[in-house]
Protein backbone atom coordinates (compact mmCIF):
# COMPACT_ATOMS: atom_id res chain seq x y z
CA UNK A 1 0.00 0.00 0.00
CA UNK A 2 1.10 3.52 0.72
CA UNK A 3 3.66 2.40 3.23
CA UNK A 4 5.80 0.87 0.50
CA UNK A 5 5.94 4.22 -1.23
CA UNK A 6 9.07 5.90 0.04
CA UNK A 7 8.06 9.33 -1.14
CA UNK A 8 4.94 9.31 0.98
CA UNK A 9 6.76 7.90 3.96
CA UNK A 10 9.25 10.73 3.99
CA UNK A 11 6.54 13.32 4.10
CA UNK A 12 5.82 13.93 7.78
CA UNK A 13 2.23 13.36 8.82
CA UNK A 14 0.49 16.34 10.26
CA UNK A 15 -0.91 16.28 13.77
CA UNK A 16 -4.44 15.43 12.71
CA UNK A 17 -3.31 12.49 10.66
CA UNK A 18 -1.09 11.23 13.44
CA UNK A 19 -3.92 11.49 15.96
CA UNK A 20 -6.24 9.60 13.66
CA UNK A 21 -3.61 6.93 13.08
CA UNK A 22 -3.07 6.48 16.81
CA UNK A 23 -6.82 6.21 17.34
CA UNK A 24 -7.21 3.59 14.64
CA UNK A 25 -4.23 1.59 15.88
CA UNK A 26 -5.41 1.56 19.46
CA UNK A 27 -8.96 0.65 18.46
CA UNK A 28 -7.66 -2.31 16.49
CA UNK A 29 -5.70 -3.55 19.51
CA UNK A 30 -8.78 -3.28 21.72
CA UNK A 31 -10.90 -5.11 19.14
CA UNK A 32 -8.35 -7.91 18.87
CA UNK A 33 -8.33 -8.34 22.65
CA UNK A 34 -12.11 -8.46 22.83
CA UNK A 35 -12.46 -10.85 19.90
CA UNK A 36 -9.83 -13.29 21.15
CA UNK A 37 -11.42 -13.12 24.58
CA UNK A 38 -14.77 -14.09 23.12
CA UNK A 39 -13.48 -16.65 20.64
CA UNK A 40 -11.18 -18.52 22.99
CA UNK A 41 -12.95 -21.71 23.92
CA UNK A 42 -13.49 -22.82 27.48
CA UNK A 43 -10.99 -25.68 27.11
CA UNK A 44 -8.16 -23.23 27.30
CA UNK A 45 -8.94 -22.53 30.90
CA UNK A 46 -9.87 -26.06 31.79
CA UNK A 47 -8.37 -27.47 34.97
CA UNK A 48 -5.11 -29.23 34.23
CA UNK A 49 -3.52 -30.53 37.38
CA UNK A 50 -0.30 -31.61 35.64
CA UNK A 51 0.92 -28.05 35.10
CA UNK A 52 -0.09 -26.48 38.37
CA UNK A 53 1.59 -23.34 39.67
CA UNK A 54 4.08 -23.07 36.84
CA UNK A 55 5.76 -19.70 36.38
CA UNK A 56 5.54 -17.90 33.02
CA UNK A 57 7.05 -19.88 30.15
CA UNK A 58 6.64 -20.11 26.38
CA UNK A 59 3.81 -22.62 26.78
CA UNK A 60 1.97 -20.51 29.29
CA UNK A 61 2.90 -16.89 28.71
CA UNK A 62 1.44 -15.69 31.99
CA UNK A 63 2.01 -18.92 33.91
CA UNK A 64 -0.70 -21.12 35.40
CA UNK A 65 -2.66 -21.01 38.64
CA UNK A 66 -3.16 -23.57 41.39
CA UNK A 67 -5.63 -25.50 39.23
CA UNK A 68 -3.37 -25.49 36.21
CA UNK A 69 -5.52 -23.04 34.28
CA UNK A 70 -3.67 -20.98 31.69
CA UNK A 71 -3.48 -17.45 33.02
CA UNK A 72 -3.01 -15.87 29.58
CA UNK A 73 -6.37 -17.16 28.35
CA UNK A 74 -8.05 -16.32 31.62
CA UNK A 75 -6.71 -12.78 31.46
CA UNK A 76 -7.92 -12.28 27.89
CA UNK A 77 -11.37 -13.61 28.71
CA UNK A 78 -11.49 -11.47 31.83
CA UNK A 79 -10.51 -8.40 29.86
CA UNK A 80 -13.21 -8.85 27.26
CA UNK A 81 -15.77 -9.41 30.00
CA UNK A 82 -14.59 -6.30 31.84
CA UNK A 83 -14.66 -4.22 28.65
CA UNK A 84 -18.21 -5.39 28.03
CA UNK A 85 -19.35 -4.45 31.52
CA UNK A 86 -17.46 -1.17 31.39
CA UNK A 87 -18.90 -0.18 28.02
CA UNK A 88 -22.47 -1.05 28.99
CA UNK A 89 -22.09 0.92 32.20
CA UNK A 90 -20.47 3.89 30.47
CA UNK A 91 -23.15 4.04 27.78
CA UNK A 92 -25.91 3.82 30.36
CA UNK A 93 -24.26 6.54 32.38
CA UNK A 94 -23.82 8.77 29.32
CA UNK A 95 -27.49 8.36 28.43
CA UNK A 96 -28.53 9.47 31.90
CA UNK A 97 -26.22 12.45 31.80
CA UNK A 98 -27.40 13.57 28.35
CA UNK A 99 -31.03 13.44 29.39
CA UNK A 100 -30.43 15.24 32.68
CA UNK A 101 -28.04 17.74 31.14
CA UNK A 102 -30.61 18.64 28.47
CA UNK A 103 -33.41 18.85 31.01
CA UNK A 104 -31.36 21.10 33.28
CA UNK A 105 -30.41 23.49 30.53
CA UNK A 106 -33.69 23.74 28.63
CA UNK A 107 -36.56 23.15 31.04
CA UNK A 108 -36.20 26.28 33.12
CA UNK A 109 -34.89 27.23 36.52
CA UNK A 110 -36.69 24.74 38.72
CA UNK A 111 -35.56 21.78 36.63
CA UNK A 112 -32.05 23.17 36.65
CA UNK A 113 -31.84 23.41 40.41
CA UNK A 114 -33.30 19.94 40.81
CA UNK A 115 -30.70 18.46 38.48
CA UNK A 116 -27.88 20.36 40.18
CA UNK A 117 -29.10 19.07 43.51
CA UNK A 118 -29.19 15.53 42.09
CA UNK A 119 -25.63 15.92 40.86
CA UNK A 120 -24.55 17.04 44.32
CA UNK A 121 -26.44 14.15 45.84
CA UNK A 122 -24.61 11.57 43.76
CA UNK A 123 -21.25 13.21 44.27
CA UNK A 124 -21.69 13.38 48.02
CA UNK A 125 -21.14 9.69 48.67
CA UNK A 126 -17.81 8.17 47.56
CA UNK A 127 -18.28 6.24 44.31
CA UNK A 128 -17.03 3.02 45.76
CA UNK A 129 -19.37 3.17 48.73
CA UNK A 130 -22.42 3.85 46.57
CA UNK A 131 -21.31 1.07 44.22
CA UNK A 132 -21.14 -1.32 47.16
CA UNK A 133 -24.57 -0.19 48.28
CA UNK A 134 -26.14 -0.61 44.83
CA UNK A 135 -24.42 -3.93 44.22
CA UNK A 136 -25.75 -5.07 47.59
CA UNK A 137 -29.24 -3.87 46.76
CA UNK A 138 -29.36 -5.86 43.54
CA UNK A 139 -27.70 -8.90 45.01
CA UNK A 140 -24.42 -8.51 43.11
CA UNK A 141 -23.85 -10.11 39.73
CA UNK A 142 -23.87 -8.58 36.28
CA UNK A 143 -27.06 -6.57 36.78
CA UNK A 144 -25.98 -5.02 40.06
CA UNK A 145 -22.62 -3.95 38.77
CA UNK A 146 -23.83 -2.46 35.47
CA UNK A 147 -26.64 -0.59 37.20
CA UNK A 148 -24.24 0.60 39.85
CA UNK A 149 -21.79 1.97 37.32
CA UNK A 150 -24.52 3.59 35.24
CA UNK A 151 -26.07 5.23 38.29
CA UNK A 152 -22.87 6.58 39.83
CA UNK A 153 -20.77 7.86 36.94
CA UNK A 154 -23.09 10.32 35.23
CA UNK A 155 -22.69 13.53 37.30
CA UNK A 156 -19.40 14.79 35.85
CA UNK A 157 -20.53 14.33 32.23
CA UNK A 158 -23.96 15.81 33.03
CA UNK A 159 -22.22 18.98 34.22
CA UNK A 160 -20.22 19.24 31.00
CA UNK A 161 -23.30 18.73 28.84
CA UNK A 162 -25.35 21.20 30.88
CA UNK A 163 -22.80 23.98 30.39
CA UNK A 164 -22.45 23.09 26.71
CA UNK A 165 -26.19 23.34 26.14
CA UNK A 166 -26.30 26.62 28.04
CA UNK A 167 -23.76 28.01 25.60
CA UNK A 168 -25.65 26.79 22.55
CA UNK A 169 -28.88 28.18 23.96
CA UNK A 170 -27.67 31.77 23.78
CA UNK A 171 -26.52 31.47 20.17
CA UNK A 172 -28.29 33.44 17.44
CA UNK A 173 -29.85 30.60 15.52
CA UNK A 174 -31.51 29.23 18.64
CA UNK A 175 -32.88 32.66 19.48
CA UNK A 176 -34.20 33.05 15.95
CA UNK A 177 -35.73 29.61 16.10
CA UNK A 178 -37.45 30.57 19.35
CA UNK A 179 -38.80 33.76 17.82
CA UNK A 180 -40.17 31.74 14.94
CA UNK A 181 -42.32 29.89 17.40
CA UNK A 182 -40.67 26.51 17.46
CA UNK A 183 -41.42 24.47 20.54
CA UNK A 184 -38.86 23.80 23.25
CA UNK A 185 -38.77 20.13 22.43
CA UNK A 186 -38.22 20.83 18.73
CA UNK A 187 -35.34 23.20 19.46
CA UNK A 188 -33.80 20.69 21.84
CA UNK A 189 -34.08 17.90 19.33
CA UNK A 190 -32.98 19.78 16.21
CA UNK A 191 -30.54 22.36 17.56
CA UNK A 192 -29.13 21.13 20.84
CA UNK A 193 -28.74 17.38 20.38
CA UNK A 194 -26.53 17.53 17.27
CA UNK A 195 -24.21 19.89 19.13
CA UNK A 196 -23.66 17.62 22.06
CA UNK A 197 -23.25 14.32 20.22
CA UNK A 198 -19.48 14.73 19.84
CA UNK A 199 -19.22 15.66 23.53
CA UNK A 200 -21.22 12.58 24.36
CA UNK A 201 -19.00 10.25 22.32
CA UNK A 202 -15.88 11.58 23.97
CA UNK A 203 -17.67 11.48 27.30
CA UNK A 204 -18.41 7.77 26.94
CA UNK A 205 -14.79 7.05 26.07
CA UNK A 206 -13.48 9.05 29.00
CA UNK A 207 -16.05 7.57 31.39
CA UNK A 208 -15.04 4.12 30.34
CA UNK A 209 -11.69 3.96 32.22
CA UNK A 210 -13.45 4.88 35.46
CA UNK A 211 -16.21 2.40 34.76
CA UNK A 212 -13.87 -0.51 34.09
CA UNK A 213 -11.64 0.29 37.07
CA UNK A 214 -14.62 0.50 39.39
CA UNK A 215 -16.03 -2.72 37.97
CA UNK A 216 -12.74 -4.47 38.67
CA UNK A 217 -12.58 -2.91 42.13
CA UNK A 218 -16.07 -3.97 43.19
CA UNK A 219 -15.56 -7.44 41.77
CA UNK A 220 -12.26 -7.58 43.61
CA UNK A 221 -14.04 -6.75 46.84
CA UNK A 222 -16.36 -9.70 46.23
CA UNK A 223 -19.58 -7.79 45.57
CA UNK A 224 -19.55 -7.84 41.78
CA UNK A 225 -19.49 -10.59 39.20
CA UNK A 226 -19.81 -14.14 40.46
CA UNK A 227 -16.64 -16.15 41.18
CA UNK A 228 -17.28 -18.56 38.28
CA UNK A 229 -16.75 -15.84 35.74
CA UNK A 230 -13.19 -15.11 34.60
CA UNK A 231 -13.25 -11.39 35.49
CA UNK A 232 -10.05 -9.53 36.23
CA UNK A 233 -11.27 -8.57 39.68
CA UNK A 234 -11.96 -12.22 40.51
CA UNK A 235 -8.57 -13.31 39.23
CA UNK A 236 -6.82 -10.70 41.34
CA UNK A 237 -8.78 -11.39 44.51
CA UNK A 238 -8.15 -15.13 44.13
CA UNK A 239 -4.47 -14.46 43.62
CA UNK A 240 -4.24 -12.77 47.03
CA UNK A 241 -4.24 -16.13 48.77
CA UNK A 242 -1.24 -17.32 46.76
CA UNK A 243 0.90 -14.20 46.85
CA UNK A 244 2.59 -15.04 50.13
CA UNK A 245 3.87 -18.26 48.55
CA UNK A 246 5.58 -16.17 45.91
CA UNK A 247 3.28 -16.71 42.91
CA UNK A 248 3.61 -13.14 41.71
CA UNK A 249 2.56 -13.84 38.12
CA UNK A 250 -1.00 -14.47 39.20
CA UNK A 251 -1.45 -10.81 40.10
CA UNK A 252 1.14 -9.05 37.97
CA UNK A 253 0.09 -9.92 34.41
CA UNK A 254 -3.70 -9.59 34.65
CA UNK A 255 -3.28 -6.24 36.39
CA UNK A 256 -0.85 -4.83 33.88
CA UNK A 257 -3.10 -5.93 31.01
CA UNK A 258 -6.01 -4.13 32.63
CA UNK A 259 -3.80 -1.08 33.02
CA UNK A 260 -2.90 -1.19 29.31
CA UNK A 261 -6.50 -1.47 28.19
CA UNK A 262 -7.64 1.37 30.43
CA UNK A 263 -4.76 3.55 29.30
CA UNK A 264 -5.60 2.81 25.65
CA UNK A 265 -9.21 3.88 26.05
CA UNK A 266 -8.04 7.00 27.82
CA UNK A 267 -5.70 7.75 24.96
CA UNK A 268 -8.37 7.15 22.29
CA UNK A 269 -10.74 9.42 24.19
CA UNK A 270 -8.14 12.18 24.53
CA UNK A 271 -7.21 11.97 20.87
CA UNK A 272 -10.80 12.00 19.74
CA UNK A 273 -11.45 15.03 21.89
CA UNK A 274 -8.51 16.73 20.25
CA UNK A 275 -10.00 16.02 16.83
CA UNK A 276 -13.52 17.06 17.73
CA UNK A 277 -12.87 19.91 20.10
CA UNK A 278 -9.54 21.64 19.42
CA UNK A 279 -10.21 24.40 21.96
CA UNK A 280 -10.08 22.11 24.91
CA UNK A 281 -7.30 19.96 23.56
CA UNK A 282 -4.57 21.43 25.73
CA UNK A 283 -6.39 20.67 28.94
Amino acid sequence: MQLSNKQLLKQPLNKRQRTLLVCIGLSIVVCVVVLTGILLDENRIATNLEVRNSPPSLDHLFGTDWLGRDMFSRTLMGLSLSIGVGLTGAIGSATISVILGLVAATMGKVADSIVTWLIDLFLSVPHLVSLILIAFAFGGGFKGIVLGIALTHWPSLARVIRSEVMQVRSLDFVQVSKKMGKSRWWITKEHMLPHIIPQMLVGVLLLFPHAILHEAAVTFLGLGLSPQEPAIGIILSESMRYLSVGMWWLAFFPGICLLFIVRMFDKIGDNLRMLIDPHHAHR
Binding site: W117, V125, L133, I134, F136, A137, L213, L243, S244, A251
Partner: protein
Protein backbone atom coordinates in the same frame (compact mmCIF):
# COMPACT_ATOMS: atom_id res chain seq x y z
CA UNK B 1 -14.73 44.99 56.49
CA UNK B 2 -13.91 42.44 59.13
CA UNK B 3 -17.52 42.21 60.16
CA UNK B 4 -18.58 41.82 56.56
CA UNK B 5 -16.28 38.86 56.14
CA UNK B 6 -17.50 37.06 59.25
CA UNK B 7 -21.09 37.69 58.21
CA UNK B 8 -20.38 36.27 54.77
CA UNK B 9 -18.92 33.15 56.26
CA UNK B 10 -21.80 32.69 58.67
CA UNK B 11 -24.41 32.91 55.91
CA UNK B 12 -22.28 30.64 53.76
CA UNK B 13 -22.07 28.02 56.50
CA UNK B 14 -25.77 28.35 57.18
CA UNK B 15 -26.69 27.58 53.57
CA UNK B 16 -24.18 24.75 53.48
CA UNK B 17 -25.73 23.25 56.59
CA UNK B 18 -29.20 23.35 55.06
CA UNK B 19 -27.92 21.74 51.91
CA UNK B 20 -26.10 19.06 53.89
CA UNK B 21 -29.29 18.30 55.80
CA UNK B 22 -31.34 17.96 52.61
CA UNK B 23 -28.71 15.72 51.04
CA UNK B 24 -28.43 13.55 54.14
CA UNK B 25 -32.19 13.04 54.29
CA UNK B 26 -32.25 12.07 50.61
CA UNK B 27 -29.25 9.77 50.97
CA UNK B 28 -30.68 7.98 53.97
CA UNK B 29 -34.04 7.56 52.26
CA UNK B 30 -32.58 6.25 49.00
CA UNK B 31 -30.11 3.94 50.69
CA UNK B 32 -32.83 2.63 52.97
CA UNK B 33 -35.02 1.79 49.98
CA UNK B 34 -32.07 0.19 48.19
CA UNK B 35 -31.16 -1.95 51.14
CA UNK B 36 -34.78 -3.04 51.64
CA UNK B 37 -34.86 -4.00 47.98
CA UNK B 38 -31.93 -6.35 48.41
CA UNK B 39 -32.57 -10.06 47.84
CA UNK B 40 -30.26 -10.82 50.78
CA UNK B 41 -32.47 -11.88 53.68
CA UNK B 42 -31.46 -9.96 56.83
CA UNK B 43 -32.60 -12.74 59.15
CA UNK B 44 -30.60 -15.34 57.29
CA UNK B 45 -27.62 -12.99 57.28
CA UNK B 46 -28.00 -12.58 61.03
CA UNK B 47 -28.47 -16.21 61.95
CA UNK B 48 -26.00 -17.57 59.40
CA UNK B 49 -25.45 -21.32 59.04
CA UNK B 50 -27.88 -22.17 61.84
CA UNK B 51 -30.78 -21.13 59.63
CA UNK B 52 -31.95 -24.74 59.32
CA UNK B 53 -32.58 -24.88 63.05
CA UNK B 54 -34.78 -21.82 63.03
CA UNK B 55 -38.43 -22.69 62.79
CA UNK B 56 -41.01 -20.64 60.97
CA UNK B 57 -42.41 -19.46 64.29
CA UNK B 58 -39.08 -18.24 65.60
CA UNK B 59 -38.52 -16.54 62.31
CA UNK B 60 -41.74 -14.64 62.58
CA UNK B 61 -40.85 -13.67 66.11
CA UNK B 62 -37.53 -12.20 64.96
CA UNK B 63 -39.34 -10.39 62.18
CA UNK B 64 -41.76 -8.92 64.65
CA UNK B 65 -39.00 -8.01 67.08
CA UNK B 66 -37.10 -6.15 64.35
CA UNK B 67 -40.25 -4.67 62.90
CA UNK B 68 -39.60 -6.30 59.53
CA UNK B 69 -43.29 -7.13 59.03
CA UNK B 70 -44.27 -3.46 58.96
CA UNK B 71 -44.55 -1.39 55.78
CA UNK B 72 -41.27 0.01 54.47
CA UNK B 73 -42.19 3.62 55.14
CA UNK B 74 -42.91 2.91 58.78
CA UNK B 75 -39.64 1.05 59.12
CA UNK B 76 -37.87 4.02 57.60
CA UNK B 77 -39.57 6.42 59.99
CA UNK B 78 -38.62 4.41 63.05
CA UNK B 79 -35.05 3.95 61.82
CA UNK B 80 -34.57 7.62 60.97
CA UNK B 81 -36.04 8.84 64.26
CA UNK B 82 -33.62 6.52 66.04
CA UNK B 83 -30.77 7.93 63.95
CA UNK B 84 -31.83 11.48 64.80
CA UNK B 85 -31.63 10.66 68.48
CA UNK B 86 -28.12 9.32 67.89
CA UNK B 87 -28.83 5.59 67.79
CA UNK B 88 -27.59 3.97 64.60
CA UNK B 89 -28.60 0.49 65.64
CA UNK B 90 -26.48 -2.57 66.37
CA UNK B 91 -24.04 -4.07 63.94
CA UNK B 92 -24.82 -7.71 63.23
CA UNK B 93 -21.30 -8.87 62.51
CA UNK B 94 -19.53 -7.08 65.33
CA UNK B 95 -22.41 -7.36 67.83
CA UNK B 96 -21.66 -3.79 68.91
CA UNK B 97 -23.47 -0.47 68.46
CA UNK B 98 -22.81 0.87 64.96
CA UNK B 99 -21.55 4.22 66.26
CA UNK B 100 -18.96 2.41 68.37
CA UNK B 101 -17.77 0.31 65.42
CA UNK B 102 -17.54 3.37 63.19
CA UNK B 103 -15.71 5.38 65.86
CA UNK B 104 -13.13 2.71 66.45
CA UNK B 105 -12.62 1.99 62.76
CA UNK B 106 -12.46 5.67 61.96
CA UNK B 107 -9.47 6.12 64.28
CA UNK B 108 -7.61 3.43 62.34
CA UNK B 109 -8.67 4.85 59.01
CA UNK B 110 -7.88 8.44 59.83
CA UNK B 111 -4.29 7.47 60.64
CA UNK B 112 -3.99 5.76 57.27
CA UNK B 113 -5.82 8.41 55.28
CA UNK B 114 -4.11 11.43 56.80
CA UNK B 115 -0.64 9.99 56.17
CA UNK B 116 -1.58 9.21 52.58
CA UNK B 117 -3.30 12.57 52.18
CA UNK B 118 -0.31 14.61 53.33
CA UNK B 119 2.19 12.48 51.43
CA UNK B 120 0.30 12.57 48.14
CA UNK B 121 -0.33 16.29 48.53
CA UNK B 122 3.28 17.20 49.15
CA UNK B 123 4.75 14.87 46.55
CA UNK B 124 2.12 15.72 43.95
CA UNK B 125 2.61 19.44 44.49
CA UNK B 126 6.37 19.18 44.18
CA UNK B 127 6.44 17.08 41.05
CA UNK B 128 3.76 19.28 39.52
CA UNK B 129 6.02 22.30 40.08
CA UNK B 130 9.01 20.40 38.78
CA UNK B 131 7.15 19.52 35.60
CA UNK B 132 5.85 23.04 35.03
CA UNK B 133 9.23 24.69 35.61
CA UNK B 134 10.70 22.38 32.97
CA UNK B 135 7.87 22.36 30.44
CA UNK B 136 8.59 20.41 27.32
CA UNK B 137 11.75 18.74 28.60
CA UNK B 138 12.11 15.04 29.32
CA UNK B 139 11.41 15.68 33.02
CA UNK B 140 8.03 17.16 32.17
CA UNK B 141 7.21 14.39 29.73
CA UNK B 142 8.18 11.72 32.21
CA UNK B 143 6.12 13.21 35.02
CA UNK B 144 3.14 13.63 32.74
CA UNK B 145 3.43 10.08 31.50
CA UNK B 146 3.73 8.83 35.08
CA UNK B 147 0.64 10.74 36.19
CA UNK B 148 -1.53 9.66 33.28
CA UNK B 149 -0.49 6.05 33.77
CA UNK B 150 -1.25 6.23 37.47
CA UNK B 151 -4.69 7.58 36.74
CA UNK B 152 -5.47 4.32 34.90
CA UNK B 153 -3.90 2.04 37.50
CA UNK B 154 -6.26 0.00 39.64
CA UNK B 155 -5.57 0.94 43.28
CA UNK B 156 -5.83 -2.60 44.53
CA UNK B 157 -3.40 -3.85 41.92
CA UNK B 158 -0.85 -1.27 43.05
CA UNK B 159 -1.40 -2.55 46.58
CA UNK B 160 -0.84 -6.12 45.43
CA UNK B 161 2.40 -5.15 43.68
CA UNK B 162 3.72 -3.43 46.80
CA UNK B 163 2.68 -6.46 48.81
CA UNK B 164 4.60 -8.80 46.49
CA UNK B 165 7.73 -6.68 46.41
CA UNK B 166 8.04 -5.38 49.95
CA UNK B 167 6.26 -7.97 52.04
CA UNK B 168 6.89 -11.21 50.17
CA UNK B 169 10.21 -10.74 48.37
CA UNK B 170 12.04 -8.28 50.58
CA UNK B 171 10.23 -9.22 53.78
CA UNK B 172 10.49 -5.68 55.09
CA UNK B 173 6.87 -5.34 56.12
CA UNK B 174 4.19 -7.67 57.47
CA UNK B 175 1.70 -9.04 54.95
CA UNK B 176 -1.38 -7.47 56.48
CA UNK B 177 -3.55 -6.61 59.46
CA UNK B 178 -3.46 -3.49 61.60
CA UNK B 179 -1.48 -5.12 64.39
CA UNK B 180 0.65 -8.28 64.59
CA UNK B 181 -1.40 -11.46 64.85
CA UNK B 182 -1.44 -13.31 68.15
CA UNK B 183 -0.20 -10.40 70.22
CA UNK B 184 -2.25 -8.99 73.07
CA UNK B 185 -3.68 -5.53 72.53
CA UNK B 186 -1.59 -3.95 75.30
CA UNK B 187 1.65 -5.41 73.91
CA UNK B 188 1.25 -3.71 70.55
CA UNK B 189 3.85 -0.99 70.30
CA UNK B 190 3.55 2.18 68.28
CA UNK B 191 6.31 0.85 66.01
CA UNK B 192 4.17 -2.17 65.14
CA UNK B 193 1.30 0.07 64.19
CA UNK B 194 3.51 2.25 62.02
CA UNK B 195 4.97 -0.80 60.32
CA UNK B 196 1.51 -2.03 59.42
CA UNK B 197 0.50 1.39 58.21
CA UNK B 198 3.32 2.07 55.76
CA UNK B 199 2.34 -0.16 52.84
CA UNK B 200 -1.35 0.80 52.63
CA UNK B 201 -0.48 4.46 53.06
CA UNK B 202 2.16 4.19 50.35
CA UNK B 203 -0.37 2.59 47.99
CA UNK B 204 -2.82 5.41 48.53
CA UNK B 205 -0.21 8.13 48.12
CA UNK B 206 1.29 6.69 44.94
CA UNK B 207 -2.13 6.70 43.32
CA UNK B 208 -3.26 10.00 44.83
CA UNK B 209 -0.29 11.96 43.47
CA UNK B 210 -1.55 12.12 39.88
CA UNK B 211 -4.45 14.51 40.33
CA UNK B 212 -2.64 17.20 42.31
CA UNK B 213 0.46 17.00 40.17
CA UNK B 214 -1.37 17.48 36.87
CA UNK B 215 -3.48 20.28 38.29
CA UNK B 216 -0.50 22.12 39.78
CA UNK B 217 1.45 21.76 36.56
CA UNK B 218 -1.42 23.21 34.56
CA UNK B 219 -1.90 26.16 36.93
CA UNK B 220 1.79 26.98 37.16
CA UNK B 221 2.15 26.95 33.37
CA UNK B 222 -0.70 29.46 33.21
CA UNK B 223 0.95 31.64 35.85
CA UNK B 224 4.32 31.44 34.12
CA UNK B 225 2.85 32.73 30.87
CA UNK B 226 1.18 35.71 32.56
CA UNK B 227 2.32 39.29 32.02
CA UNK B 228 3.87 39.84 35.41
CA UNK B 229 6.04 36.77 35.11
CA UNK B 230 7.14 37.80 31.64
CA UNK B 231 8.09 41.16 33.12
CA UNK B 232 9.91 39.55 36.01
CA UNK B 233 11.81 37.43 33.52
CA UNK B 234 12.70 40.54 31.55
CA UNK B 235 14.10 42.01 34.75
CA UNK B 236 16.39 39.01 34.99
CA UNK B 237 14.68 36.84 37.57
CA UNK B 238 14.80 33.15 36.89
CA UNK B 239 14.66 29.68 38.34
CA UNK B 240 13.76 29.18 41.95
CA UNK B 241 13.58 32.87 42.96
CA UNK B 242 11.13 33.53 40.17
CA UNK B 243 8.96 30.65 41.31
CA UNK B 244 9.23 31.63 44.97
CA UNK B 245 8.27 35.25 44.39
CA UNK B 246 5.56 34.91 41.76
CA UNK B 247 4.51 31.28 41.43
CA UNK B 248 4.09 29.63 44.80
CA UNK B 249 1.34 31.77 46.29
CA UNK B 250 -0.72 31.60 43.16
CA UNK B 251 -0.72 27.83 42.92
CA UNK B 252 -0.66 26.77 46.57
CA UNK B 253 -4.29 27.59 47.22
CA UNK B 254 -5.86 25.66 44.32
CA UNK B 255 -3.71 22.67 45.20
CA UNK B 256 -4.78 22.71 48.84
CA UNK B 257 -8.46 23.07 48.02
CA UNK B 258 -8.15 20.31 45.45
CA UNK B 259 -6.72 18.05 48.12
CA UNK B 260 -9.65 18.79 50.41
CA UNK B 261 -12.15 18.25 47.63
CA UNK B 262 -10.58 14.86 46.89
CA UNK B 263 -11.83 13.31 50.15
CA UNK B 264 -14.26 11.21 48.16
CA UNK B 265 -11.53 9.55 46.13
CA UNK B 266 -9.41 9.19 49.24
CA UNK B 267 -12.19 7.26 50.94
CA UNK B 268 -12.73 5.06 47.89
CA UNK B 269 -9.02 4.35 47.66
CA UNK B 270 -8.88 3.55 51.36
CA UNK B 271 -11.61 0.93 50.93
CA UNK B 272 -9.46 -0.90 48.39
CA UNK B 273 -6.13 -0.47 50.14
CA UNK B 274 -7.59 -1.63 53.45
CA UNK B 275 -9.07 -4.69 51.79
CA UNK B 276 -5.76 -5.64 50.15
CA UNK B 277 -3.76 -5.28 53.36
CA UNK B 278 -6.65 -6.41 55.59
CA UNK B 279 -6.21 -3.24 57.57
CA UNK B 280 -9.07 -2.89 60.06
CA UNK B 281 -10.47 0.47 58.97
CA UNK B 282 -13.74 1.93 57.79
CA UNK B 283 -13.30 0.69 54.24
CA UNK B 284 -12.89 -2.89 55.30
CA UNK B 285 -15.93 -2.56 57.53
CA UNK B 286 -17.93 -1.30 54.52
CA UNK B 287 -16.93 -4.32 52.45
CA UNK B 288 -17.69 -6.72 55.30
CA UNK B 289 -21.06 -5.10 55.86
CA UNK B 290 -21.90 -5.39 52.17
CA UNK B 291 -20.74 -8.97 51.86
CA UNK B 292 -22.42 -10.28 54.99
CA UNK B 293 -25.61 -8.25 54.84
CA UNK B 294 -25.07 -6.12 57.94
CA UNK B 295 -27.69 -3.52 57.10
CA UNK B 296 -27.41 -1.14 60.10
CA UNK B 297 -23.65 -0.92 59.71
CA UNK B 298 -23.87 -0.40 55.94
CA UNK B 299 -26.39 2.43 56.32
CA UNK B 300 -24.35 4.02 59.07
CA UNK B 301 -21.22 3.88 56.94
CA UNK B 302 -22.97 5.41 53.93
CA UNK B 303 -24.13 8.34 56.06
CA UNK B 304 -20.73 8.69 57.66
CA UNK B 305 -18.87 8.70 54.34
CA UNK B 306 -21.26 11.34 53.01
CA UNK B 307 -20.55 13.59 56.00
CA UNK B 308 -16.83 12.97 55.60
CA UNK B 309 -16.88 14.02 51.93
CA UNK B 310 -19.08 17.00 52.68
CA UNK B 311 -16.77 18.28 55.41
CA UNK B 312 -13.89 18.10 52.95
CA UNK B 313 -15.81 20.14 50.39
CA UNK B 314 -16.87 22.76 52.92
CA UNK B 315 -13.29 23.16 54.13
CA UNK B 316 -12.15 23.60 50.53
CA UNK B 317 -14.75 26.32 49.94
CA UNK B 318 -13.98 28.03 53.23
CA UNK B 319 -10.25 28.15 52.55
CA UNK B 320 -10.95 29.84 49.27
CA UNK B 321 -13.17 32.41 50.93
CA UNK B 322 -10.98 33.15 53.93
CA UNK B 323 -7.49 32.88 52.55
CA UNK B 324 -7.67 34.17 49.01
CA UNK B 325 -7.72 37.98 49.14
CA UNK B 326 -9.08 38.18 45.61
CA UNK B 327 -12.31 36.28 46.21
CA UNK B 328 -12.71 38.17 49.51
CA UNK B 329 -12.49 41.57 47.90
CA UNK B 330 -14.58 40.41 44.99
CA UNK B 331 -17.27 39.33 47.44
CA UNK B 332 -17.42 42.57 49.41
CA UNK B 333 -17.39 44.49 46.17
CA UNK B 334 -20.35 42.51 44.93
CA UNK B 335 -22.17 43.11 48.21
CA UNK B 336 -21.62 46.86 48.04
CA UNK B 337 -23.20 47.00 44.64
Amino acid sequence: MRWQLTWNIVTFLFWKAIKMASLLVAISFISFLLVKNSPIDPIQAYVGADMLNVSQEQREKIEEYWGLNQPVMEQFMSWSSAVLSGDLGTSMIFRLPVSEVIGERFLNSIALMSVAWVLSGVIGFSIGILAAMNTGTWIDRMIKWYCYTLASTPTFWMGLLLLIVFAVWLNWFPVGMGVPAGVLAEDVTIMDRIKHLILPALTLSIIGVANVALHTRQKLIEVLSSDYVVFARARGEKGFTLFWRHGLRNIALPAITLQFAAFSELFGGAVLAEQVFSYPGLGQATVEAGLRGDIPLLLGLVLFSAIFVFVGNVIADLIYRVVDPRTREGKSYAVKQ
